[in-house]
Symmetry: C2
Subunit: 364 residues, 2 copies
Amino acid sequence: MKIIRESTPLEDGFRMPAEYERHQGCIMIFPERRDSWQYGGYAARKAFVQVAEAIAESEEVTVCVSGDLYDSARALLPPEVRVVEMSSNDAWARDYAPTFVKNSQGEVRGVDWGFNAWGGLWDGLYFPWDKDSRMARKLCDLMGKDVYDKRDFILEGGSIHVDGEGTCMVTESCLLSQGRNPGLSREEIEDILRQYLGVSVVLWLPWGIYNDETNGHIDNICAFTSPGHVVLAWTEEEGDVQYAMSRACLEYLEQALDAQGRRLKVHRLPLPRPVTVTEEECRGLDPCWDQPSRRPGERLAASYVNFYIANGSIVMPGFGDPADREAREILQGLFPERKVVQIPARDILMGGGNIHCITQQVPM
Amino acid sequence: MKIIRESTPLEDGFRMPAEYERHQGCIMIFPERRDSWQYGGYAARKAFVQVAEAIAESEEVTVCVSGDLYDSARALLPPEVRVVEMSSNDAWARDYAPTFVKNSQGEVRGVDWGFNAWGGLWDGLYFPWDKDSRMARKLCDLMGKDVYDKRDFILEGGSIHVDGEGTCMVTESCLLSQGRNPGLSREEIEDILRQYLGVSVVLWLPWGIYNDETNGHIDNICAFTSPGHVVLAWTEEEGDVQYAMSRACLEYLEQALDAQGRRLKVHRLPLPRPVTVTEEECRGLDPCWDQPSRRPGERLAASYVNFYIANGSIVMPGFGDPADREAREILQGLFPERKVVQIPARDILMGGGNIHCITQQVPM
């Protein structure tokens, strides 16, 4: 594995493919952390296994797991899923597995961003995050891919979405947050995204999902479904705090042009009714340092936008909500070639993210 | 990764290739254990790096390392060597990485033997050995190779040598030791070797090298250099305890026939003068449980037979002994197509083995 510091992906002719382009496979991490996953993580691991099984139907899946849990992971996951030992602080492959870029000859390289647990000592979610922050490089090493070192810039994979045709979407609430890169201006951040994702246009949605502890990652509120098309998490409940946030995103998107000069077609994806944490769930969580990691009644950032696009399927969350079916049908309409698989995801959501957050695609 | 329990390699048409057949690559493990490697293992790691660099000139090298030492390993090893996180109890890839078998279509599978640290609770060398014993399976998982489960039979890779044409060599002192498979007869052990290595003839040398704490692994005393040819560790010092041991092996070999019915040609490889542990070295070793792991004056099992056959080179130990040169020239004569690289190996030998013990080839 070569570590590249003297050039950028853009300079070398690399760009980040869209998630709906062909994958070689998918990376996941087995959940274990007891202040993230209730009652020792048993329910979360079962849900992760369902996600891995669904994705493994159409692409290679590698699950990283601690040495302690390797045997459990191997026993729970089907033989076609590869299990490799790799230490981490938690299980968010989207955010600290590498972002992959590809050139026109088909070579794939990784980008190793800085990671500080979604805000570092400012408003990060746990400490330390040393193992997470080593994963991108370790995964490139494992896969024999060269890697761009961009650790001086804090970014999580869940805070960007690209259309594969020159456009990147982010949220202001996340990328301009004090806990990320407070010394950089919006223009400087845009320039880094252009250089390292090979894009020309950056779209800045104002917000993510209410109470999303990532400072509102784009991947929970809005996603490209094809060039020129996005789904936006949406509610008609004007009294809901999310309403104004989604509305502001819609207004931004309706006036935006993508890198190809297209006006975006915005498909509204309903949100489920608010999902809140129960007392019973809180009793099954260790404190994070001396603080409770969740409080009863706390609203979780549930959203159907947090789906994964596999080669042959859309793997999306379900919340046992009446909107589950409508959201599924909308995505099926937008991805007619792929089978939509809906997985009960409350036990993933409890950790603070969803199916997109726990997966990272490796381009073909 | 599929775990195979219903059939054996022989039944499925698989056999273990000889080490001098073409490799895809080599597996090593980074040394760390402080009761094995003096003064925190710094000198040992440098020697391991030299071995990895020499092998990497002609085949792919993967080095397994604990999460704690990953950064060190990555910094010390050249970029062309792959570094992967994998926990172990010590660094003997030969003994607990998989033994690989191959069929005529070129498919490669692993064999996962039982491992008990060279004798278990009878006369094993450390406790526990749980991480070591998981490595064969983990490595097959990592490489996407199916694996035969033969964990009910205790065997280390260093206790067997094959010629690739139906012959296996072992030592009685090791394979019949009380700490391995005391419930099995010699005939039953032979049958398992036939089934899992795809051989028809097992040659039983009586001994290994004096004071070799593996109960005298074959790979320290005798090795195939081509079909019909072996090198045997040899001393002309009749007063040395090793003399009778090597003499007994020679007499056995001179009357033996290999699987092709050939009389073996035995090439004598001189031994260095006895190598003993210094007080200074002992001071740099943690005790193993409450016992010193080495004692000043203790004789180490130094032997030039403990070399690795890479695609393009022979990587062999040197001991700063007058015999270094003669041994090198003998091996160069036996491997005219390969470059002989001699690496100062005292810091590897201190751990109890040598270059062959810390490597495991993966057939092409």
